[in-house]
Symmetry: C2
Subunit: 251 residues, 2 copies
């Protein structure tokens, strides 16, 4: 854990929310249709036709197992770009496509995760929240990936936090706690925002407050969370609704 | 070093400058007059009269020795806020003021470094540079400190890099290289911007390009660098001049 916790900055004691930290894949960006779009483009140029949405799902299915090997201590920390690339190679193997997708195409396709679009409510809501709260992603994506998503979608963060700064993966407590410390906040002054109840459950266990954002279609129509499965401090229909609930909506 | 270097993002090969990273204390903010102002305010409220500029100089004089104990491996990494606080206690001891400045005042005064003002040319130049280049501080200041300086001075960074991300202190090569990697860049695609020739010399040795900013009055009138002491890629009168040299000046 980041030793910044030894000395707090001048933000937020335990009473007030001073910072919001965000899950990104699924909560702020639509990973499924974006990865499918990139797969169709890159694999199409290789003369390979695939069910692009199924390809996105297969690639994403390798996400948790790859991180779990690191979370468990069996492998040293490596950034998500590296895990995504190994997972891509595995998925291409599984589909019998190894010989048909060259190195340049794989490098290009791996950047699909850098080229995802925000859900329509996100960018304006982040701009509305920024004057009132410190804002940072707390994603398992590495910093370079977060930088590209922010530039693409016109987001301004106070800092880019998450796995790369903590050098471990959510939902380990160190990732949430190091993010709070890096913003100069007690955990209880930080609101973790996510569309996934498990992420929020672990954030709460680490001492943070929690806000759930409904993303009912994240993994395909009706295959996302339309409501939290656990008690949360805020349950919002989208990020604009959360901004309203926090009194930060634009008038 | 951050393992992001294993997989590059989609920014900048070795040919073009894709990112600028910045020294902060002295290069972007006037630490001496800001710390003096805060010392006068906080110590004055304790009924202690000091030569505020001499106090700022004495505090700053403890900066390199404290980092050197960590750079040398004798002590584990701790963020600059923690070093600043230990250094403050030492300076108060040296001045025979230990019994006259209580814990609350010390905590407040330690945040002097979070409350520094930018040199007058800086904020507009950063806004002009941002559309063309990825921008991040590469400072020995910790993330919470950088967040406060950015909010105070209206800066928008792509990420906050430097000591807290590398978990070591400049001028060790890992700090420059981890900052480039975190931005998805080869070191040669990153321009290190500083008012200190030694910082730039080590950045160049780590593979980065270099830009020197003149800050002739950083440490008092005439006690700063008005020109680089080493060969650099750019030597600029201020940050606006660098933006012009990079073709990013506002018209």
């Amino acid at each position: 854990m980041n030793a910044t916790s030894e000395v707090r900055g001048n933000a937020g004691g335990p009473g007030a929310t001073a910072a919001l930290i965000f899950d990104v894949f699924g909560t702020l960006v639509d990973w499924r249709s974006g990865v499918a779009r990139e797969a169709e483009r890159v694999l199409g140029a290789c003369g390979v036709a695939v069910d692009a949405l199924a390809f996105a799902d297969a690639w994403r299915a390798q996400y948790q197992p790859a991180m779990e090997r690191i979370r468990g201590g069996g492998e040293p920390y490596r950034p998500l770009d590296v895990l995504h690339r190994a997972n891509l190679d595995r998925v291409l193997d599984d589909l019998g496509l190894s010989g048909r997708v060259d190195e340049a195409a794989r490098t290009d396709l791996n950047l699909a995760w850098h080229r995802l679009d925000a859900w329509p409510d996100v960018t304006a809501a982040l701009h509305a929240l920024r004057p009132r709260f410190r804002l940072a992603p707390c994603s398992n994506g590495n910093i370079a990936l977060m930088v590209d998503l922010a530039r693409r979608n016109d987001w301004n963060w106070d800092a880019v936090l998450g796995a790369d700064v903590a050098r471990d993966y959510k939902p380990k407590a160190v990732v949430y706690q190091a993010s709070a410390a890096a913003l100069g906040c007690e955990p209880g002054a930080v609101l973790m925002v996510a569309a996934h109840s498990d992420d929020l459950a672990f954030a709460a266990k680490a001492g943070l407050r929690t806000a759930h954002i409904a993303r009912p279609d994240e993994k395909g129509p009706g295959r996302g969370e339309s409501a939290p499965k656990i008690p949360v401090d805020f349950a919002a229909a989208d990020l604009a609704d959360l901004a309203t609930k926090l009194g930060a909506a634009r008038t």
